[in-house]
């Protein structure tokens, strides 16, 4: 188990290093001059040169890469070109929104999907099953930004139950803050729930037909105990994989939702950094997201071994 973990962690670090190089090179070839974007179309050449020097953009690319990685290894991030504050501070501020939002959406999607999946699996071929599968089809087909706009029109503009956009901040009170996140979380959760309901149904159906389930039934266990104790437990592996992937997706993929709801999250930070060519911010945030995906995958793998001891022996 220890060697397994050590090998996985080493692999993780190599992945991050390769990713950092790729990120840096890709951002280098991106057209656009950050200094020109800051100073605009009236700026004069000497002003631009002064700003480029101030931003360190006149140093060779290799040096700038080493500055970046060296800084990260020493635990410091760069100073954002546009905001003029450390990137770590920006990321920290944004994560206090994006992580709770992703967890909230994940919670909602699981809460919706698992009962629906169970309902569909236990009523295979009956109206309940068709209903769930229909919901899932619609949920996957609806673009989440469209659902987001629709929910703003209905629940914020027409009914006035929720704010249309924005985030009051956690210091406004947990209730108020969460209230502002209900519509965005639902918009994020809906397509995820649709997929997860399908996965749950399939996983349950697979296990429902397994020998040990027949044995459990033959022993005379109540159907409910068969479902919860045997079927669901064994269906957890594919479901955990999907949930893990979904969490990474929710963190990285909330750009559109954050823009629609004007939420100050990581997604919008990326959006702004791209449009303002704030490469200092961009490379740190992208690397962070890569790290999150890699770490979540790693944790999901570790979770497998907890759920099913047999996977521990796998290579």
């Amino acid at each position: 188990m220890l060697t397994y973990l050590a090998r996985r962690i080493l692999l993780l670090l190599i992945t991050l290093l390769v990713a950092s190089l790729a990120i840096f090179v890709i951002l280098e070839v991106l057209p656009g001059d950050a200094a020109l974007l800051i100073l605009g179309i009236e700026a004069q050449d000497d002003t631009l040169a002064a700003l480029r020097a101030q931003m360190g953009l006149d140093r060779p690319a290799a040096l700038r890469y080493l500055d970046w990685i060296g800084g990260l290894a020493a635990g410091t991030t760069g100073i954002s070109h546009t905001y003029d504050v450390p990137v770590s501070q920006l990321i920290g501020e944004r994560l206090t929104l994006t992580v709770p939002l992703a967890l909230f959406a994940l919670f909602l999607s699981t809460l919706i999907a698992i009962p629906l999946g169970m309902l569909a699996a236990t009523r295979r071929g009956r109206p309940g099953d068709y209903g769930v599968m229909g919901f899932s089809q619609i949920g996957m087909a609806i673009p989440n930004f469209w659902f987001a706009i629709l929910s703003i029109l209905v629940f914020a503009v027409a009914l006035g139950w929720f704010p249309a956009s924005g985030f009051p901040g956690w210091d406004a009170g947990v209730g108020t803050a969460l209230w502002a996140l209900v519509l965005p979380a639902f918009s994020l959760a809906l397509p995820e729930a649709a997929i997860l309901a399908r996965v749950t149904r399939t996983a349950l159906l697979d296990t429902l037909g397994a020998d040990y389930v027949r044995t459990a039934r033959a022993k005379g266990l109540a159907p409910r105990r068969v479902l919860w104790g045997h079927v669901l437990r064994n269906a957890l592996i594919p479901m955990t994989t999907i949930i893990g992937l979904q969490f990474a997706f929710l963190l990285a993929g909330s750009i559109v939702i954050e823009v629609v709801f004007a939420l100050p999250g990581i997604g919008r930070l990326i959006f702004q950094a791209v449009s303002q060519r704030d490469l200092v911010v961009l490379r740190d945030v992208i690397l962070l997201l890569v790290a999150l995906v890699v770490v979540v995958n790693f944790l999901v793998d570790v979770a497998y071994t907890a759920i099913d001891p047999r996977t521990r022996r796998a290579p």
Partner: protein, 491 residues
């Protein structure tokens, strides 16, 4: 299965019901929340061109020696009066008494000297450094008097000093103004929740609006939703012209359609063949139907222009008749120039006026036999390829700086227009301080660039202000890109 039903019911209900929280509270009458499209990168107007900076700090937080009012006229601000020498080279300003910066430090002539010298220094990162180009010496005569000596007359000096880029800062706090701005205005910086909002607080008790919150809502339809849901009280410049009709019909809101400094032009690369032939440029000017572009791309909001000048300015000359929409004339000019099967590219930056307007321009040019290939570009790409690299045939962009016809006299500017007669006019303008004489020169400059058909002039952007009924004192026009709330109150 009964359990199933309960579980499903909980799942569906929980999202709405479990998280019961207080609903939005009623708006107290001494605060104001304004929706803005863009978040400023930082809050130092002397270190960046982003209009979003001035949208928040201009007149509210920072003040200059002079200021520009709602109608574009120069007014005294930190300087209560001034005298100009007969040769127009020496300006002597008398400063207001009893002014302090928000951190308590006093304001005097040394702050003015510091600010102006900082802006024009060789290592300055001021985006509008040319505003200070004529200054030779800035000195403090005494604590309340500043003398500016020019190396050449600069007729626009008082106007230039009213720009956001020329605000007065204190040496003690200037370095931190990007994140913790300290100015002399009636509102001081309170809090910035990055990505979300910036809050200002009034410095004196008597002010009608004590708290101002600027909320950043990038999506135009989200701005409308936020207005209707009561999240915000006003949008100073709505980016969704399609929503204006419904907002005008809504009794809760007031819609004010004003003017901006944004001349929206179909810019042409004057040195690239065949656009180096004036007949081709004139043909393009005749081919476009300005009103159709305003109607189709901007839902009718915008004023057609015939030259690079704002119609609300006293020096404006109506040159719409110079190039009326005349496809036959356009075709004749093209035939005359031997351009029968012309193919051109049109690079379009992201704003709505460009992307939507570009489609219409392309179809209008098609009608006179010019095939246009539309290339959408991002803003950063536009700056690098079109603006810096002048690698383009046609592009659409709005020039939002006030009275910026001087760009036509620059040696390297992206339309690559080089006219000795216009340069001579601009030199004369710089040497003239008399307003009537200046207006005459500006009129000649407008006629010159229109005669040369440097660009095809489309329309002046409108300012679509929307706010809750009862809010008074918001600017209708935008002569500078500011959201001046110093005179705003609830009634």
């Amino acid at each position: 299965m009964k359990t199933m039903r309960i579980v499903v019911a909980i799942a569906v209900a929980s999202g709405l019901a479990v998280l019961a929280a207080p609903a939005a509270q009623a708006q107290p009458k001494d605060s104001l929340t304004i929706g803005l499209t863009l978040e400023p990168p930082h809050l130092d107007p002397t270190a960046g061109a982003a209009a979003a900076i001035d949208e928040i700090v201009y007149a509210n937080l920072f003040e200059g020696l002079t200021r520009i009012d709602e109608n574009g006229a120069v007014q005294p601000q930190l300087a209560k009066s001034w005298a100009v020498s007969g040769d127009g080279l020496v300006y002597t300003f008398t400063l207001k008494d009893g002014v302090a910066f928000h951190d308590g430090t006093g304001f005097d002539a040394d702050d003015v000297v510091f600010s102006l010298n900082r802006a024009r220094a060789s290592d300055s990162v001021n985006a509008q450094k040319q505003l200070f180009a004529a200054m030779d010496k800035v000195e403090a005569v005494d604590a309340r008097t500043v003398r500016i000596t020019l190396s050449r007359p600069e007729g626009a000096l008082l106007f230039n000093l009213g720009w956001g880029d020329a605000v007065i800062v204190a040496p003690e706090s200037a370095a931190n103004n990007k994140v913790a701005p300290i100015g002399t205005g009636p509102y001081k910086f309170d809090r910035w929740v990055r990505g979300s909002q910036i809050r200002l607080a009034a410095t004196d008790e008597g002010r009608a609006i004590r708290k101002v919150t600027f909320r950043f809502i990038p999506d135009p339809s989200a701005q409308v939703a936020a207005l209707k849901a009561g999240d915000i009280d006003a949008v100073a410049n709505l980016q969704a012209p399609e929503a204006v009709i419904t907002l005008q019909a809504d009794p809760n809101f007031e819609v004010a359609i004003g003017s901006t400094e944004g001349e929206t032009i179909l810019a042409m690369n004057n040195t690239r063949p065949p656009l180096n032939d004036v007949r081709v440029r004139q043909a393009i000017a005749h081919a476009i139907d300005r009103q159709a572009i305003v109607d189709g791309a901007m839902f009718g909001f915008g004023t057609p222009i015939g030259t690079h000048f704002a119609p609300h300015h006293p020096a404006y000359v109506d040159l719409l008749a110079a190039y009326p929409h005349d496809p036959a004339r356009a075709r004749a000019l093209l035939a005359d120039a031997d351009q029968t099967d012309l193919k051109l590219t049109l690079k379009l930056p992201p704003p709505t006026y460009a992307r939507r307007g570009g489609e219409i321009v392309a179809s209008q040019l098609k009608a006179v036999g010019i095939t246009v290939e539309i290339i959408p570009v991002e803003w950063a790409q536009w700056l690098e390829q079109v603006f810096r690299g002048t690698d383009y045939d046609l592009t659409i962009v709005s020039h939002t700086e006030p009275v910026d016809i001087g760009i036509y006299a620059r040696d390297t500017y992206y339309f690559n227009y080089d006219s000795p007669s216009l340069k001579a006019l601009m030199a004369r303008l710089n040497n003239t301080s008399d307003q009537a004489a200046r207006n005459r020169i500006l009129g000649q400059a407008q006629r010159t660039i229109t005669a040369d058909a440097v660009n095809a002039y489309m329309f002046q952007l409108a300012k679509l202000g929307v706010w809750r009924k009862g809010l008074k004192g918001m600017w209708r026009n935008a002569p500078v890109q500011a959201t001046d709330v110093t005179g705003v109150r609830w009634e």
